[in-house]
């Protein structure tokens, strides 16, 4: 009973946070970031259904997102020219249906195998659709894209969708419903079998399930929710281009899901939030945003294969044993020099790329021609790297101590 209450509390809290966010941060900028986050969350969660839960690495997931967006924006146009009567609130449903249809079609032949074959087919389909979008300019609008207007629908609860805030509340509804359904999907037999097929397709077939059918169901569901995200995108930006269905977008959703943490339901949500925030916070200050993103991604794959969510969950054992506090000081001792190293390295990169003679960065004024600023940064980076390397063995010892099994029985069983 306790867990049930906790679960209800968690979902209620999620909804409350979603609803209260615009009350706390009510600037136009904040709302537009929240809208981006909402779209990214649905999209990244749908990707996790494929890769995290179904074990299918896709390089073409943007196809379903983009097609959903295009259909949605075309419906907006039809409403604008009064060729069709439809509710704005249901536009993401149009996207979802498009994603579902595209998923049924592509999934019918691509889900026979997981692994490399699936990844290659998804890449091929992705490139095919992206290239076709530039050929069929009547539907995809060529390089300029297709734009619509979301204010021509009938008002809903007094909202006419002129402002982004109205869109946000609509997005909250869709994000909450999508998250809930995607979570519930993981609890259905189909969702459970998706995990089984991911881990061992042969065994799943031995107990009588068709691995291909299980993958197909996951694939269609993932396509549907990617389409919902695409529909939300069309509503928010009123504008969809070929970039929304090409490899760049497919790669971005892979990054989000992976950095957040595959295999944990909450992982892609974390990834979507982190990446959207990073995108907003950094891209205004630096031209090297994508370089940092690439470095972050490669480092995550190398050192945190289960992403940020996996990193947090690593501490579960120590927390259950009540030894988490023992890790605080070692973390600080390694973290501070690492931070020094990262900041110095970032300053070095920025300085070598600066277009002006004096770079104002992080409260520092760095002159490009002064040897002193270069030397200081190199010294900072070197010192940071040295101290980090020195303190890691201590951190490792503390980690092992915090995770060591209990020597005396009793407490272990109680927890």
């Amino acid at each position: 009973m306790k867990t049930l209450a906790a679960k209800w509390g968690l979902w209620g809290g999620y909804l409350a946070v979603l609803l209260l966010l615009p009350q706390v941060f009510d600037s136009i900028l904040a709302i537009s970031i929240f809208n981006q986050m909402a779209i990214a969350i649905v999209f990244a969660l749908s990707y996790n259904m494929l890769l995290g839960q179904g074990g299918m690495l896709s390089f073409g997931h943007a196809v379903y997102f983009g097609l959903g967006g295009f259909l949605a924006v075309h419906v907006l146009r039809l409403m604008e020219f009064e060729a069709m009567y439809f509710s704005i609130a249901l536009i993401p449903l149009i996207g979802g249906l498009t994603g579902l249809l595209a998923g049924i079609f592509v999934g019918s032949f691509s889900t026979r195998k997981a692994g490399t074959v699936f990844a290659m087919i998804s890449l091929g389909i992705g490139e095919l659709v992206a290239a076709s979008s530039l050929i069929f300019t009547g539907f995809f609008g060529g390089e300029a894209g297709v734009s619509g207007d979301r204010t021509f629908g009938p008002p809903l609860f007094g909202m006419d969708f002129f402002s982004d805030t109205d869109v946000y509340y609509l997005a909250v509804f869709w994000v909450f419903v999508s998250t809930l359904f995607m979570y519930l999907f993981t609890r259905t037999p189909a969702g459970r079998m998706a995990n089984a097929v991911r881990d061992n397709p042969e065994r799943a077939e031995f107990i009588g399930y068709s691995a291909r059918w299980v993958r197909f169901i996951s694939f269609c569901a993932a396509g549907t929710f990617a389409g919902v995200a695409g529909g939300l995108f069309a509503l928010n930006y009123e504008f969809v281009t070929d970039e929304n269905l090409n490899l760049v977008t497919s790669g971005r959703v892979l990054l989000m899901a992976y950095i957040g943490g595959l295999g944990f339901f909450i992982g892609p949500i974390i990834g979507a939030i982190i990446l959207t925030l990073m995108n907003f916070l950094l891209s205004n200050y630096t031209e090297l945003f994508l370089l940092y993103l690439g470095i972050l991604f490669v480092l995550t794959v190398l050192f945190l294969p289960r992403g940020f969510a996996g990193f947090i969950m690593m501490h579960q054992a120590a927390w259950l044993r009540g030894r988490l506090h023992g890790l605080a000081l070692p973390y600080l001792l390694t973290g501070l020099p690492a931070l020094l190293f990262i900041l110095s390295a970032v300053c070095l990169l920025e300085l070598s790329h600066a277009s002006e003679p004096v770079l104002h960065f992080l409260g520092l004024s760095l002159a490009r021609d002064s040897a002193l600023s270069w030397a200081g940064l190199v010294l900072g980076a070197g010192l940071g790297a040295f101290l980090t390397a020195r303190s890691t063995p201590g951190l490792r010892r503390a980690w092992e101590a915090a995770n060591a099994p209990e020597t005396r029985g009793g407490r272990e069983r109680a927890s």
Binding site: G115, L128, I135, F139, L254, L291, L293, L302
Partner: protein, 316 residues
């Protein structure tokens, strides 16, 4: 018409053999480690950029030799400290790692060399028309590309099938444990093969850079096509990669040269369609327009009807 055919064939051969230089490394790496290296074309781009920078100071020919070596060493380092670490987390993690690496290399290239197209020139020595046919010139540099590619193919084939090193590599592909038991350092062989494969990609970049333009998107342009070739040819099959490379090279070259399309086809069939549909661009399509799509269409068809590729045997 014959001149179009001859030149389309020659250009197709040049492109096809160039693609083979990339595909051969990729396919050998795949058969050893079972991982498709997404960043393979990024090493090709690095080759072009290194060679460009070297050519500014020491001339083209120094770049031709040095750049592939640098790229090969970089590739070996990536295998040793990157791929080998990720390997324990499975194939998906490896594929994702190389995907991230491709992304990172593209950004790094923009950081070091900027976003503009580099003026990487063909050497003066080869700046003359090799022969003139039907009033059209075939440049000596393309002939040089053809020679190098064929030379590499023959050399690679000889080394892999005739030399002791080649035999050990072949054995390490099929029976890694047995080879290790015989006292060979299998991880070192892997690193070396990865290094040589990326060096080949780098060499392809050096010779292709002046013709196909050196810009930060060049890896993306060729990268997915090389993937397509390796998959169509059959994962891990060197002859398959050669056939698929030539097939794709010629296919694209002919499609661009052929001036036919849907209008001609419809006229031939005596059909007419009303033009008021959102997809009515379909009726004005011609082959040159869909040339970039053809490899991917072929890929999807091959994967659906013959998932092992043309020459592949391995069912994975």
């Amino acid at each position: 018409m014959p001149e179009v055919l001859v030149f389309a064939t020659l250009n197709g051969l040049v492109t096809g053999l160039l693609l083979f230089m990339l595909a051969s490394g990729l396919t050998v790496i795949f058969s050893m480690m079972g991982v498709l290296n997404f960043a393979h074309a990024s090493f090709y781009m690095l080759g072009a950029y290194f060679a460009y920078s070297i050519s500014l100071y020491f001339g083209y020919w120094t770049g031709l030799i040095l750049a592939p070596l640098i790229v090969g060493v970089l590739g070996a380092l990536v295998e040793r400290y990157g791929l080998r670490r990720v390997h324990q987390h499975g194939h998906v993690a490896e594929l994702v790692f190389t995907f991230g690496l491709a992304f990172l290399i593209e950004e790094a290239v923009q950081f070091f060399w900027g976003q503009d197209t580099k003026n990487y020139q063909t050497p003066d020595l080869l700046d003359f028309p090799l022969f003139t046919l039907f009033g059209q010139e075939f440049s000596a540099y393309r002939g040089f590309m053809l020679t190098i590619s064929i030379g590499i193919f023959i050399g690679l084939y000889q080394v892999l099938t005739r030399s002791r090193v080649g035999l050990i590599i072949q054995a390490a592909i099929s029976h890694p444990h047995m080879v290790a038991n015989l006292g060979h350092n299998v991880p070192l062989i892997f690193t070396a093969v990865f290094g040589v494969g990326t060096a080949l990609a780098g060499l392809a970049g050096v010779i292709a850079g002046p013709v196909l333009t050196t810009f930060p998107g060049m890896a993306l342009v060729l990268g997915s096509i090389v993937f397509v070739i390796v998959v169509i040819g059959g994962l891990g099959s060197l002859p398959g990669a050669l056939i698929a490379s030539l097939l794709i090279g010629l296919l694209q070259s002919y499609a661009i040269a052929a001036n036919v399309g849907m209008p001609e086809l419809l006229e031939l069939l005596g059909l007419e369609f009303p033009r008021s549909h959102p997809l009515d661009d379909l009726w004005t399509l011609n082959l040159a327009q869909i040339a970039p799509v053809l490899p991917f269409l072929l890929l999807v068809l091959v994967l659906i009807f013959r998932p092992t590729g043309l020459m592949g045997k391995r069912e994975q």
